[in-house]
Symmetry: C2
């Protein structure tokens, strides 16, 4: 089994979830995104900002480049929904979501199979030698699962049937 | 990079999602599982049965053994929630969920790293030679993402805060 095949398996899962989230988000109006996904739970706008923030932070975590929108972190990761009164406009969050994913795709395409199995930024070289599964590709696996969880929740904002 | 490390990455994701779903399901009462996860959406009992059915069908898909509870399929995969009036009791679905995951774990533990990269049951040997990413380990990746999506929805049945 070559590294190339495992990279394809992981990236296929990632791109499939991003595409599915894009399709859903394109279907949802800004008004729908202002609603809670279920009574008393996060609003769509918060989940959109949260996903954009988490994916933005993958840029440094994968040792590609600095985060593009570091201000998202305090609002959409460190704080729960409604803790921050003034959120960025939904149109801006939609644009950030798209830009960040495109940026990630460009970096993904430039990485050789072997480079995927090097360490991510949150583990030292020393620890990585003992735990080689904590590599960049594993970040993609974990973030794909994270995206799927929130996409399943955002789906409740769409019209039924 | 050895196959063993890929397998660990994929199985870590699987076991983490199964554990997280187990923790949630153990926290939810039967009464809570009878509720819709969001107004007009699937009930918890349906999602529990759906996950048990999908995981049960992984037994033949991974070429381990026959499905243990084939009757779940028509109720929880082929039919939407409320299409079938008489569902099995929640206690039975909880038991099936646990049994099926334990059975999968036992098979997972018995498979060598190389065996994970052999074909799953829904692809012919001929096609597999052209598309080697369609292997047994990929089934685990895809089903982990599936579980995450529904676990994120079931979380709405738990008490807030």
């Amino acid at each position: 089994m070559s590294n190339e095949i495992f990279v394809k398996m992981a990236l296929d899962g990632w791109y499939s979830q991003v595409k599915s989230a894009d399709t859903l988000l394109n279907k949802l109006s800004d008004e729908q995104l202002m609603q809670e996904v279920s009574p008393g739970r996060n609003r769509g706008i918060y989940l959109l900002g949260h996903l954009a923030a988490v994916h933005d932070m993958m840029l440094p975590l994968l040792r590609f480049e600095e985060s593009m929108y570091p201000a998202l972190r305090s609002v959409f990761i460190d704080s729960p929904d409604r803790a921050v009164a003034d959120l960025p406009p939904i149109s801006e969050l939609r644009a950030h979501w798209t830009t960040v994913n495109e940026k990630l795709s460009a970096h993904f395409a430039s990485l050789s199979p072997d480079e995927w199995f090097t360490r991510h930024a949150s583990i030292s070289q020393e620890d990585f030698e003992k735990e080689p599964h904590r590599n960049r590709l594993n970040v993609v696996l974990v973030r794909t699962i994270h995206l799927s969880s929130h996409r399943g929740q955002l789906a409740f904002l769409a019209a039924k049937g």
